[in-house]
């Protein structure tokens, strides 16, 4: 398959270690674009229209929840799938993220048991079914 035909994933994480880890995990099946701030992420989403955003909620210039809500209010951007990949583990954070419009929520550290690659691939393939079923 041509690389340009692979789905684009924006990897929005200020932590270089996680940037590398996520990009390496997905690189065989997706194109990845790394962003380090909410502002950069929003700009990348607007210009590149990715299929999926993996989002650390703790961003240097604000709260990732704000971005999720912003995307959901935008008719042109709300179809983008959002997977929170974050160090925030509290139940209330998970509830807030899903209610804001997140499609998935993974708590760091990403363990082998969580099968990040398979999970993201299946999210890309089945995420819209799950949305439609709601």
């Amino acid at each position: 398959m041509l690389k340009q035909n692979l789905p684009l994933v924006v990897v929005a994480d200020p932590d270089p270690e996680y940037q590398r880890h996520i990009v390496q995990s997905l690189s065989s099946s997706c194109r990845c674009l790394v962003t380090r701030t909410l502002r950069e992420t929003y700009q990348a989403i607007q210009s590149e229209r990715p299929a999926l955003v993996t989002l650390e909620l703790d961003q240097p210039d604000g709260d990732g929840l704000t971005l999720i809500r912003f995307l959901q209010e935008d008719i042109q951007l709300r179809s983008i799938l959002i997977a929170c990949v974050t160090r925030r583990a509290a139940v209330k954070e998970k509830i807030q993220a899903f209610r804001a419009g997140a499609d998935d929520y993974l708590v760091k550290p990403l363990t082998p048991m969580m099968n990040f690659y398979g999970r993201m691939l299946l999210l890309l393939r089945a995420g819209h079914f799950a949305r439609a079923a709601r």
Partner: protein, 166 residues
């Protein structure tokens, strides 16, 4: 515990239909000898999980607050809850919806109506599922979803954007 009986496993059951919740609770307690904890919606289910630490969870799909898909994702996405056996119980019988439920991490997907006896059997099966079984299932699901599908996602996404912009 009497010889041959199951230990008192705890099952957390999440459903927004109070009558069905009670019916299934009674069945699980009487026929399965399980300790059952109830939650009335997805948010309560997620909160209860960390209080109860159940051995198995039964989750309805259509619920207010968090739906069943979101609840499964929240549980499977946290190392603290990722290993718990999860059974989805739903009236949604379409193949795509079943695929979505299993793809998100449910161990079984049961279609309503389900008898208490069937549910007890499902819980017993779920308690035996190990991580190797889950990995094998995910590989199988990945193989099932046609390779071509992922190739079309990028173009499909672009088409969706184009339609919205028209």
């Amino acid at each position: 515990m009497t010889a041959g009986a199951l230990p008192a496993y705890t099952v957390l059951i999440v459903d927004d239909d109070p009558d069905l919740l009670q019916l299934l609770t009674d069945g699980l307690e009487l026929l399965g000898n399980f300790r059952v904890v109830q939650a009335a919606d997805g948010i309560a289910g997620l909160e209860q999980y960390f209080e109860v630490q159940p051995d198995c969870m039964i989750i309805d799909v259509k619920m207010p607050g968090l739906d069943g898909y979101q609840l499964v994702r929240a549980l499977r996405g946290d190392p603290a809850s990722a290993e718990t056996p999860l059974i989805m119980l739903t009236a949604l019988a379409q193949e795509q919806q079943q695929f979505a439920g299993l793809a998100l991490g449910a161990d079984q997907y049961l279609i309503k109506p389900v008898t208490p006896r069937e549910l007890v059997a499902a819980v017993k099966r779920a308690l035996l599922i190990g991580e190797e079984d889950r990995r094998a299932r995910m590989q199988s699901l990945l193989a099932q979803s046609e390779e071509a599908e992922i190739e079309h996602i990028a173009s499909h996404t672009q088409e969706a954007f184009s339609e919205q912009e028209d």
